[in-house]
């Protein structure tokens, strides 16, 4: 069927980001004692959790966005702009 709305799903990108995301989580949980040791000291180490949060949100956020797209769940086609 040559329907017009055949759009490529970002399967490759989703898998790549998924693998990186899993790797980040594995690292966080496997090295939790070391990481908590630093973060627990506070002071200038305060940047650590903030940077971690930004990194995870970028990688995992991209993955979850692509995940729903691959699953076929997307925003409504109309209603682009809210008045």
């Amino acid at each position: 069927m040559a329907e017009s709305k055949v759009r490529k799903k970002p399967v490759g990108k989703m898998l790549l980001m998924g693998v990186i995301s899993v790797a980040l989580y594995a690292l966080l949980l496997l090295k939790q004692d070391v990481i908590n040791g630093y973060i627990g000291q506070g002071g200038m180490y305060a940047f650590l959790p903030i940077i971690t949060a930004f990194l995870f949100s970028f990688v995992h956020g991209t993955f979850t966005g692509d995940f729903w797209t691959v699953m076929g769940i997307e925003a409504a086609k109309k209603k682009k702009e809210v008045k």
Partner: protein, 361 residues
Amino acid sequence: MHDIVNAAANFINLDTANIIYLFLVGFVGGLVSGFIGSGGAFVLTPAMMSMGVPGLVAVASNMCHKFPKALIGALKRAKYGQVDVKLGIVLGISAEAGVLYGAHIQESIKKSFGEAGSNLYVSTAFVVILAIVGGFVLLDAWKTYKSGTTNEEEKVTKLAKWVQSVNIPGTMVYFKSLNARISVLFTIPLGFATGMLAATIAVGGFVGVPSMIYVLGAPSLMASATELVIAFVMGLGGSFKYAMHGLVDIRLAMIILAGSLFGIQLGAMGTTYVKAFTIKMVMGVIMVIVLFSRALMVPVYMSQLGLISEIAADTTKMLKSVSYGIMIFALATGAFIVLKAMWQGRREQRLATQEALGHVK
């Protein structure tokens, strides 16, 4: 002050059951946040505390998952043209001041009246604010539903019209969500109240979103999306403050984030399928249900302070469990309405597409 030994005492051992539980609550909280701009924190913080996480670490870790989640949600909803970044940042800055002042009040109350005094203050704030604001939002959503005007554009309230009509030279700023110039002076108390509420009950959006709708005149969809910008600004500042004292448990924050990023994407997409009053409905329903949860705890704290006669330990335990159960119910109900509305919206769109294709053939 907070050396590694202290840190170890702050950070609990995580087992698989706890990880799965936090992931799931994170998902549902994210779903609701993506839709109404906030939510989830009122369940997440007590959930962590029930695992043995100290109160401050629970608050700090919740905040550290909130700002990256809000960032992703805001970016997603910006794609749909729903975010007013300028209004979000302006309100976010005064909200940050509100957070600091709210935390200061909390500390003074704790110092003077102890843990029970602080809990009583938080619960009373919950009950009073949610009763007034939540009741108003729910009533408004209900009236719109009953009047059959759900498809019409939202009406700007009289108060918002007045706010938009006041001209204070040197303070006027144009906001796209309002499609009007208003004095930034009006945003300061609103942002401040949002921040104070965030510091007190962890969900500033319960004041932030309704105030943008009813006081400033923003449409519900834009108000709830802009709240995500406020949450990002507040969450980032708050997280850094707590992280300076070594109170963030990054494992808890990131596990919740893992679930909530799935949820927030879905909730944000959900807003493109629904009518504006659904946002108010979800928000009002959650607020009113949570109100009962907190109201149940008021007598417990009052008895701990000796304001009323002592309540038996068994009764206290039972009230605590019921209160927590009601909070989970509130979040689940909100998530159910979001998913149902999204499901219906998708179905309608599919049918419309099929019909259009049928006409073409």
